[in-house]
Symmetry: C2
Amino acid sequence: MVSKTPIPTVQALFFDVFGTLVDWRSSIGREARTILEPLGHRLDWEAFADAWRGEYQPGMEEVRSGRIPFSKLDVLHRRNLERFLPRFGVTGLPDDVLHNLTLAWHRLDAWPEVPEALARLKSKFRIAPCSNGNISLMVDLARRNNLPWDAILGAEVAGDYKPKPGVYLAACAALDLAPSQCMMVAAHSSDLAAAAACGLRTGHIARPNEHGAGKGELGPSVPVDVAAKDLAALADKLGA
Amino acid sequence: MVSKTPIPTVQALFFDVFGTLVDWRSSIGREARTILEPLGHRLDWEAFADAWRGEYQPGMEEVRSGRIPFSKLDVLHRRNLERFLPRFGVTGLPDDVLHNLTLAWHRLDAWPEVPEALARLKSKFRIAPCSNGNISLMVDLARRNNLPWDAILGAEVAGDYKPKPGVYLAACAALDLAPSQCMMVAAHSSDLAAAAACGLRTGHIARPNEHGAGKGELGPSVPVDVAAKDLAALADKLGA
Protein backbone atom coordinates (compact mmCIF):
# COMPACT_ATOMS: atom_id res chain seq x y z
CA MET A 1 0.00 0.00 0.00
CA VAL A 2 1.48 3.30 -1.03
CA SER A 3 -0.85 6.00 0.18
CA LYS A 4 0.84 9.28 -0.66
CA THR A 5 3.48 10.64 -3.00
CA PRO A 6 6.68 11.89 -1.44
CA ILE A 7 6.53 15.50 -0.38
CA PRO A 8 9.19 17.84 -1.75
CA THR A 9 9.85 19.23 1.72
CA VAL A 10 11.64 16.05 2.83
CA GLN A 11 15.18 17.08 3.69
CA ALA A 12 16.52 14.09 5.59
CA LEU A 13 16.31 10.33 5.29
CA PHE A 14 16.75 8.13 8.35
CA PHE A 15 17.57 4.49 7.82
CA ASP A 16 16.96 1.30 9.64
CA VAL A 17 20.15 -0.72 9.23
CA PHE A 18 19.86 -4.40 10.31
CA GLY A 19 18.02 -6.11 7.48
CA THR A 20 17.31 -2.91 5.58
CA LEU A 21 20.87 -1.97 4.61
CA VAL A 22 22.91 -4.95 5.77
CA ASP A 23 22.43 -8.70 5.52
CA TRP A 24 22.84 -9.59 9.19
CA ARG A 25 21.84 -13.25 8.76
CA SER A 26 24.47 -14.37 6.25
CA SER A 27 27.12 -12.20 7.85
CA ILE A 28 26.54 -13.42 11.40
CA GLY A 29 26.46 -17.01 10.17
CA ARG A 30 29.79 -16.51 8.41
CA GLU A 31 31.43 -14.72 11.36
CA ALA A 32 30.22 -17.28 13.90
CA ARG A 33 31.51 -20.10 11.76
CA THR A 34 34.88 -18.39 11.30
CA ILE A 35 35.25 -18.02 15.04
CA LEU A 36 33.68 -21.23 16.36
CA GLU A 37 34.50 -23.90 13.77
CA PRO A 38 38.25 -23.82 14.57
CA LEU A 39 37.22 -24.43 18.19
CA GLY A 40 35.52 -27.67 17.14
CA HIS A 41 31.93 -26.50 16.89
CA ARG A 42 29.82 -27.67 13.95
CA LEU A 43 26.52 -25.85 14.05
CA ASP A 44 23.70 -24.80 11.77
CA TRP A 45 25.15 -21.32 11.35
CA GLU A 46 22.03 -19.72 9.97
CA ALA A 47 20.02 -21.14 12.85
CA PHE A 48 22.71 -19.65 15.10
CA ALA A 49 22.15 -16.23 13.51
CA ASP A 50 18.39 -16.62 13.81
CA ALA A 51 18.65 -17.58 17.47
CA TRP A 52 20.77 -14.55 18.24
CA ARG A 53 18.41 -12.25 16.38
CA GLY A 54 15.55 -13.94 18.21
CA GLU A 55 16.82 -12.50 21.49
CA TYR A 56 16.99 -8.99 19.99
CA GLN A 57 13.55 -7.62 20.75
CA PRO A 58 13.26 -9.18 24.24
CA GLY A 59 16.69 -7.75 25.10
CA MET A 60 15.73 -4.24 24.07
CA GLU A 61 12.36 -4.53 25.75
CA GLU A 62 14.12 -4.57 29.11
CA VAL A 63 15.41 -1.08 28.33
CA ARG A 64 12.24 0.19 26.70
CA SER A 65 10.17 -0.91 29.67
CA GLY A 66 12.53 0.77 32.10
CA ARG A 67 13.51 -2.47 33.85
CA ILE A 68 17.18 -1.74 33.13
CA PRO A 69 18.92 1.54 32.25
CA PHE A 70 19.88 2.22 28.65
CA SER A 71 22.72 -0.03 27.53
CA LYS A 72 24.42 -0.02 24.15
CA LEU A 73 23.30 -2.72 21.76
CA ASP A 74 26.77 -4.28 22.01
CA VAL A 75 26.05 -4.94 25.68
CA LEU A 76 22.66 -6.46 24.89
CA HIS A 77 24.14 -8.55 22.07
CA ARG A 78 26.68 -9.99 24.49
CA ARG A 79 24.06 -10.79 27.08
CA ASN A 80 21.77 -12.30 24.43
CA LEU A 81 24.65 -14.41 23.11
CA GLU A 82 25.32 -15.93 26.50
CA ARG A 83 21.60 -16.56 26.87
CA PHE A 84 21.16 -18.71 23.75
CA LEU A 85 24.58 -20.36 23.36
CA PRO A 86 23.77 -23.27 25.71
CA ARG A 87 20.86 -24.18 23.41
CA PHE A 88 23.48 -24.98 20.77
CA GLY A 89 25.51 -26.97 23.25
CA VAL A 90 28.23 -24.34 23.33
CA THR A 91 29.53 -23.64 26.81
CA GLY A 92 32.68 -22.40 28.47
CA LEU A 93 33.84 -20.02 25.73
CA PRO A 94 36.56 -17.71 27.03
CA ASP A 95 35.80 -14.03 27.38
CA ASP A 96 37.87 -12.94 24.38
CA VAL A 97 35.95 -15.33 22.11
CA LEU A 98 32.62 -14.08 23.44
CA HIS A 99 33.81 -10.51 22.86
CA ASN A 100 34.98 -11.25 19.33
CA LEU A 101 31.67 -12.97 18.58
CA THR A 102 29.76 -9.97 19.90
CA LEU A 103 31.73 -7.74 17.56
CA ALA A 104 30.57 -9.88 14.63
CA TRP A 105 27.69 -7.39 14.46
CA HIS A 106 30.28 -4.74 13.53
CA ARG A 107 31.31 -6.84 10.52
CA LEU A 108 28.07 -7.18 8.60
CA ASP A 109 27.97 -6.78 4.83
CA ALA A 110 25.66 -4.36 3.07
CA TRP A 111 23.17 -5.55 0.51
CA PRO A 112 24.91 -5.05 -2.85
CA GLU A 113 23.19 -1.90 -4.12
CA VAL A 114 23.35 0.01 -0.85
CA PRO A 115 26.65 1.95 -0.95
CA GLU A 116 26.09 3.47 -4.37
CA ALA A 117 22.42 4.18 -3.72
CA LEU A 118 23.23 5.92 -0.43
CA ALA A 119 25.79 8.11 -2.17
CA ARG A 120 23.10 9.13 -4.67
CA LEU A 121 20.62 9.87 -1.90
CA LYS A 122 23.21 11.94 -0.04
CA SER A 123 23.46 14.28 -3.01
CA LYS A 124 19.84 15.29 -2.40
CA PHE A 125 19.13 14.58 1.28
CA ARG A 126 20.84 14.57 4.63
CA ILE A 127 21.24 10.89 5.50
CA ALA A 128 21.73 9.18 8.84
CA PRO A 129 21.09 5.78 10.34
CA CYS A 130 18.26 5.70 12.87
CA SER A 131 19.11 2.23 14.07
CA ASN A 132 19.09 0.49 17.41
CA GLY A 133 22.78 -0.24 16.87
CA ASN A 134 25.23 1.81 18.90
CA ILE A 135 27.44 4.54 17.47
CA SER A 136 30.64 2.48 17.28
CA LEU A 137 28.78 -0.36 15.58
CA MET A 138 27.33 2.04 13.01
CA VAL A 139 30.76 3.58 12.43
CA ASP A 140 32.33 0.18 11.83
CA LEU A 141 29.58 -0.87 9.41
CA ALA A 142 29.95 2.43 7.57
CA ARG A 143 33.72 2.09 7.25
CA ARG A 144 33.41 -1.53 6.12
CA ASN A 145 30.73 -0.83 3.52
CA ASN A 146 31.40 2.78 2.49
CA LEU A 147 28.16 4.16 3.86
CA PRO A 148 28.61 7.95 3.57
CA TRP A 149 26.57 9.10 6.58
CA ASP A 150 26.17 12.75 7.46
CA ALA A 151 25.79 11.80 11.13
CA ILE A 152 25.15 8.75 13.28
CA LEU A 153 21.76 9.10 14.95
CA GLY A 154 19.48 6.52 16.52
CA ALA A 155 19.18 4.66 19.81
CA GLU A 156 22.43 5.66 21.50
CA VAL A 157 21.89 9.36 20.78
CA ALA A 158 18.30 9.09 22.03
CA GLY A 159 19.06 6.87 25.02
CA ASP A 160 16.22 4.48 24.19
CA TYR A 161 15.28 1.90 21.58
CA LYS A 162 12.95 1.96 18.59
CA PRO A 163 10.03 1.79 18.22
CA LYS A 164 9.82 4.23 21.15
CA PRO A 165 8.80 7.62 19.68
CA GLY A 166 11.70 9.44 21.30
CA VAL A 167 14.21 7.72 19.04
CA TYR A 168 12.64 9.01 15.82
CA LEU A 169 11.95 12.43 17.29
CA ALA A 170 15.53 12.78 18.59
CA ALA A 171 16.82 12.14 15.07
CA CYS A 172 14.60 14.89 13.64
CA ALA A 173 15.57 17.28 16.44
CA ALA A 174 19.29 16.64 15.92
CA LEU A 175 18.93 17.99 12.38
CA ASP A 176 16.59 20.84 13.41
CA LEU A 177 13.84 19.38 11.25
CA ALA A 178 10.16 18.78 11.83
CA PRO A 179 9.11 15.13 11.58
CA SER A 180 7.25 15.95 8.35
CA GLN A 181 10.57 17.01 6.80
CA CYS A 182 12.08 13.58 7.51
CA MET A 183 11.54 10.15 6.02
CA MET A 184 12.19 6.88 7.81
CA VAL A 185 13.39 4.14 5.44
CA ALA A 186 13.10 0.50 6.52
CA ALA A 187 12.36 -3.02 5.38
CA HIS A 188 10.07 -3.51 8.38
CA SER A 189 6.49 -2.27 8.42
CA SER A 190 6.44 -2.06 12.22
CA ASP A 191 9.33 0.41 12.21
CA LEU A 192 7.59 2.52 9.58
CA ALA A 193 4.28 2.47 11.42
CA ALA A 194 6.01 3.78 14.55
CA ALA A 195 7.80 6.51 12.58
CA ALA A 196 4.59 7.53 10.83
CA ALA A 197 2.86 7.83 14.20
CA CYS A 198 5.53 10.43 15.08
CA GLY A 199 4.76 12.38 11.90
CA LEU A 200 7.65 11.20 9.75
CA ARG A 201 7.30 10.26 6.10
CA THR A 202 8.02 6.64 5.35
CA GLY A 203 9.79 4.62 2.69
CA HIS A 204 9.69 0.83 2.45
CA ILE A 205 12.45 -1.31 0.96
CA ALA A 206 11.69 -4.92 0.06
CA ARG A 207 14.05 -7.48 1.62
CA PRO A 208 12.22 -10.69 0.80
CA ASN A 209 15.13 -12.90 1.91
CA GLU A 210 16.13 -11.14 5.13
CA HIS A 211 15.37 -14.14 7.33
CA GLY A 212 16.22 -16.74 4.68
CA ALA A 213 14.83 -17.53 1.25
CA GLY A 214 11.34 -16.06 0.96
CA LYS A 215 11.33 -14.96 4.58
CA GLY A 216 11.20 -11.19 4.61
CA GLU A 217 8.93 -8.33 3.68
CA LEU A 218 8.21 -8.19 -0.04
CA GLY A 219 6.22 -5.02 0.49
CA PRO A 220 4.77 -2.88 3.27
CA SER A 221 1.82 -4.08 5.31
CA VAL A 222 1.07 -0.54 6.45
CA PRO A 223 0.47 2.70 4.52
CA VAL A 224 3.75 4.29 3.41
CA ASP A 225 4.72 7.26 1.28
CA VAL A 226 6.91 5.29 -1.06
CA ALA A 227 7.79 1.63 -1.53
CA ALA A 228 10.67 0.27 -3.61
CA LYS A 229 12.20 -3.06 -4.44
CA ASP A 230 15.61 -1.95 -3.19
CA LEU A 231 17.52 1.18 -2.24
CA ALA A 232 18.51 2.03 -5.81
CA ALA A 233 14.83 1.97 -6.77
CA LEU A 234 14.05 4.21 -3.81
CA ALA A 235 16.70 6.68 -5.04
CA ASP A 236 15.02 6.60 -8.46
CA LYS A 237 11.62 7.30 -6.94
CA LEU A 238 12.96 10.16 -4.82
CA GLY A 239 14.65 11.74 -7.82
CA ALA A 240 18.17 11.35 -6.44
CA MET B 1 56.58 22.05 23.38
CA VAL B 2 56.16 18.56 22.04
CA SER B 3 56.64 16.19 24.92
CA LYS B 4 55.98 12.74 23.53
CA THR B 5 55.83 10.92 20.24
CA PRO B 6 52.42 9.69 19.09
CA ILE B 7 51.53 6.29 20.39
CA PRO B 8 50.65 3.62 17.84
CA THR B 9 47.57 2.66 19.83
CA VAL B 10 45.72 5.83 18.82
CA GLN B 11 42.64 4.73 16.92
CA ALA B 12 40.51 7.85 16.77
CA LEU B 13 41.11 11.53 16.21
CA PHE B 14 38.69 14.11 17.60
CA PHE B 15 38.75 17.59 16.16
CA ASP B 16 38.00 21.02 17.37
CA VAL B 17 36.27 22.78 14.47
CA PHE B 18 35.90 26.58 14.90
CA GLY B 19 39.32 27.99 14.16
CA THR B 20 41.02 24.62 13.87
CA LEU B 21 39.28 23.34 10.73
CA VAL B 22 37.23 26.32 9.58
CA ASP B 23 37.96 30.03 9.27
CA TRP B 24 35.03 31.39 11.27
CA ARG B 25 36.24 35.01 11.23
CA SER B 26 36.39 35.63 7.48
CA SER B 27 33.30 33.52 6.87
CA ILE B 28 31.15 35.26 9.49
CA GLY B 29 32.32 38.64 8.23
CA ARG B 30 31.35 37.70 4.68
CA GLU B 31 27.97 36.24 5.66
CA ALA B 32 27.06 39.18 7.89
CA ARG B 33 27.94 41.61 5.13
CA THR B 34 25.91 39.64 2.58
CA ILE B 35 22.86 39.77 4.82
CA LEU B 36 23.14 43.22 6.42
CA GLU B 37 24.66 45.45 3.75
CA PRO B 38 21.54 45.27 1.52
CA LEU B 39 19.59 46.42 4.59
CA GLY B 40 21.70 49.59 4.73
CA HIS B 41 24.23 48.61 7.37
CA ARG B 42 27.89 49.52 6.81
CA LEU B 43 29.93 47.92 9.58
CA ASP B 44 33.45 46.75 10.29
CA TRP B 45 32.59 43.15 9.40
CA GLU B 46 35.61 41.58 11.03
CA ALA B 47 34.91 43.48 14.21
CA PHE B 48 31.35 42.15 13.90
CA ALA B 49 32.70 38.59 13.73
CA ASP B 50 35.02 39.23 16.67
CA ALA B 51 32.21 40.67 18.76
CA TRP B 52 30.02 37.63 18.11
CA ARG B 53 32.84 35.26 18.93
CA GLY B 54 33.53 37.34 22.04
CA GLU B 55 30.16 36.30 23.44
CA TYR B 56 30.94 32.62 22.80
CA GLN B 57 32.60 31.58 26.05
CA PRO B 58 30.30 33.61 28.35
CA GLY B 59 27.28 32.10 26.57
CA MET B 60 28.49 28.54 27.06
CA GLU B 61 29.52 29.26 30.63
CA GLU B 62 25.87 29.64 31.54
CA VAL B 63 25.37 26.01 30.54
CA ARG B 64 28.65 24.71 31.99
CA SER B 65 27.89 26.32 35.33
CA GLY B 66 24.40 24.86 35.42
CA ARG B 67 22.65 28.24 35.40
CA ILE B 68 20.67 27.20 32.31
CA PRO B 69 19.98 23.74 30.90
CA PHE B 70 21.94 22.52 27.89
CA SER B 71 21.00 24.43 24.76
CA LYS B 72 22.37 23.85 21.27
CA LEU B 73 25.04 26.27 20.16
CA ASP B 74 22.60 27.63 17.55
CA VAL B 75 20.43 28.82 20.42
CA LEU B 76 23.38 30.42 22.20
CA HIS B 77 24.58 32.01 18.96
CA ARG B 78 21.17 33.62 18.47
CA ARG B 79 21.09 34.93 22.03
CA ASN B 80 24.65 36.20 21.76
CA LEU B 81 23.82 37.92 18.48
CA GLU B 82 20.95 39.85 20.00
CA ARG B 83 23.22 40.76 22.93
CA PHE B 84 25.95 42.48 20.90
CA LEU B 85 24.03 43.85 17.88
CA PRO B 86 23.02 47.10 19.64
CA ARG B 87 26.72 47.86 20.16
CA PHE B 88 26.96 48.15 16.38
CA GLY B 89 23.87 50.35 16.25
CA VAL B 90 21.84 47.57 14.64
CA THR B 91 18.34 47.27 16.07
CA GLY B 92 14.92 46.09 15.00
CA LEU B 93 16.03 43.29 12.66
CA PRO B 94 13.12 40.99 11.82
CA ASP B 95 13.15 37.45 13.11
CA ASP B 96 13.91 35.85 9.76
CA VAL B 97 17.02 38.01 9.35
CA LEU B 98 18.21 37.17 12.86
CA HIS B 99 17.62 33.49 12.07
CA ASN B 100 19.50 33.66 8.79
CA LEU B 101 22.37 35.48 10.49
CA THR B 102 22.50 32.79 13.17
CA LEU B 103 22.77 30.15 10.48
CA ALA B 104 25.85 31.94 9.11
CA TRP B 105 27.75 29.62 11.46
CA HIS B 106 26.54 26.72 9.29
CA ARG B 107 28.21 28.34 6.26
CA LEU B 108 31.82 28.61 7.34
CA ASP B 109 34.64 27.71 4.97
CA ALA B 110 37.34 25.22 5.85
CA TRP B 111 40.99 26.20 5.83
CA PRO B 112 42.27 25.13 2.39
CA GLU B 113 44.17 21.95 3.26
CA VAL B 114 41.54 20.50 5.55
CA PRO B 115 39.27 18.35 3.32
CA GLU B 116 42.09 16.42 1.67
CA ALA B 117 44.02 16.03 4.92
CA LEU B 118 40.94 14.71 6.73
CA ALA B 119 40.39 12.17 3.98
CA ARG B 120 43.98 10.99 4.45
CA LEU B 121 43.56 10.77 8.22
CA LYS B 122 40.32 8.83 7.80
CA SER B 123 42.21 6.09 5.99
CA LYS B 124 44.10 5.38 9.19
CA PHE B 125 41.92 6.62 12.06
CA ARG B 126 38.29 6.99 13.00
CA ILE B 127 37.61 10.72 12.79
CA ALA B 128 34.92 12.84 14.41
CA PRO B 129 34.43 16.43 15.41
CA CYS B 130 34.48 17.03 19.15
CA SER B 131 33.23 20.58 18.85
CA ASN B 132 30.89 22.75 20.82
CA GLY B 133 28.86 23.17 17.64
CA ASN B 134 25.58 21.28 17.45
CA ILE B 135 24.99 18.26 15.26
CA SER B 136 23.10 20.07 12.48
CA LEU B 137 25.77 22.76 12.36
CA MET B 138 28.50 20.13 12.06
CA VAL B 139 26.54 18.32 9.34
CA ASP B 140 26.13 21.50 7.33
CA LEU B 141 29.83 22.38 7.62
CA ALA B 142 30.73 18.84 6.58
CA ARG B 143 28.46 18.91 3.54
CA ARG B 144 29.71 22.35 2.52
CA ASN B 145 33.40 21.48 2.88
CA ASN B 146 33.48 17.73 2.20
CA LEU B 147 34.58 16.73 5.69
CA PRO B 148 34.25 12.92 5.68
CA TRP B 149 33.34 12.32 9.33
CA ASP B 150 32.74 8.85 10.71
CA ALA B 151 30.34 10.31 13.27
CA ILE B 152 29.36 13.66 14.75
CA LEU B 153 30.40 13.73 18.40
CA GLY B 154 30.92 16.65 20.78
CA ALA B 155 28.80 18.95 22.92
CA GLU B 156 25.31 17.98 21.76
CA VAL B 157 25.98 14.27 22.20
CA ALA B 158 27.48 14.92 25.64
CA GLY B 159 24.89 17.48 26.75
CA ASP B 160 27.56 19.90 27.97
CA TYR B 161 30.28 22.15 26.59
CA LYS B 162 34.05 21.84 26.34
CA PRO B 163 36.29 22.13 28.23
CA LYS B 164 34.12 20.12 30.65
CA PRO B 165 35.68 16.63 30.89
CA GLY B 166 32.43 14.88 30.07
CA VAL B 167 32.52 16.11 26.49
CA TYR B 168 35.88 14.51 25.70
CA LEU B 169 35.03 11.36 27.64
CA ALA B 170 31.67 10.98 25.91
CA ALA B 171 33.43 11.04 22.54
CA CYS B 172 35.81 8.27 23.61
CA ALA B 173 32.96 6.23 25.07
CA ALA B 174 30.88 6.57 21.90
CA LEU B 175 33.65 4.77 20.00
CA ASP B 176 34.29 2.23 22.80
CA LEU B 177 37.82 3.56 23.20
CA ALA B 178 39.90 4.44 26.22
CA PRO B 179 41.01 8.09 26.33
CA SER B 180 44.59 6.94 25.69
CA GLN B 181 43.44 5.50 22.36
CA CYS B 182 42.10 8.89 21.24
CA MET B 183 43.79 12.12 20.19
CA MET B 184 42.22 15.56 20.44
CA VAL B 185 43.33 17.87 17.63
CA ALA B 186 42.94 21.62 18.06
CA ALA B 187 44.49 25.00 17.37
CA HIS B 188 43.84 26.03 20.97
CA SER B 189 46.13 25.03 23.80
CA SER B 190 43.36 25.35 26.40
CA ASP B 191 41.28 22.73 24.57
CA LEU B 192 44.25 20.38 24.42
CA ALA B 193 45.12 20.88 28.08
CA ALA B 194 41.58 19.91 29.04
CA ALA B 195 41.66 16.84 26.79
CA ALA B 196 45.05 15.78 28.15
CA ALA B 197 43.71 16.05 31.69
CA CYS B 198 41.11 13.44 30.65
CA GLY B 199 43.85 11.12 29.40
CA LEU B 200 43.58 11.81 25.67
CA ARG B 201 46.58 12.26 23.41
CA THR B 202 46.84 15.73 21.89
CA GLY B 203 47.75 17.24 18.53
CA HIS B 204 48.20 20.96 17.94
CA ILE B 205 47.60 22.70 14.63
CA ALA B 206 48.97 26.21 14.10
CA ARG B 207 46.40 28.81 13.03
CA PRO B 208 48.42 31.98 13.42
CA ASN B 209 45.79 34.14 11.72
CA GLU B 210 42.63 32.78 13.33
CA HIS B 211 41.69 36.10 14.94
CA GLY B 212 43.25 38.27 12.21
CA ALA B 213 46.76 38.67 10.87
CA GLY B 214 49.22 37.38 13.45
CA LYS B 215 46.49 36.78 16.00
CA GLY B 216 46.32 33.06 16.61
CA GLU B 217 48.36 30.23 18.07
CA LEU B 218 51.59 29.65 16.17
CA GLY B 219 52.34 26.68 18.42
CA PRO B 220 51.13 25.03 21.61
CA SER B 221 51.68 26.67 24.98
CA VAL B 222 51.13 23.37 26.78
CA PRO B 223 52.76 19.95 26.38
CA VAL B 224 51.29 18.03 23.45
CA ASP B 225 52.04 14.74 21.72
CA VAL B 226 52.40 16.25 18.28
CA ALA B 227 52.37 19.76 16.82
CA ALA B 228 52.06 20.62 13.15
CA LYS B 229 51.85 23.73 11.01
CA ASP B 230 48.59 22.59 9.46
CA LEU B 231 46.41 19.51 9.09
CA ALA B 232 48.33 18.12 6.13
CA ALA B 233 51.52 18.29 8.20
CA LEU B 234 49.72 16.50 11.03
CA ALA B 235 48.70 13.74 8.62
CA ASP B 236 52.36 13.46 7.58
CA LYS B 237 53.49 13.17 11.19
CA LEU B 238 50.84 10.56 11.98
CA GLY B 239 51.82 8.48 8.96
CA ALA B 240 48.45 8.85 7.23
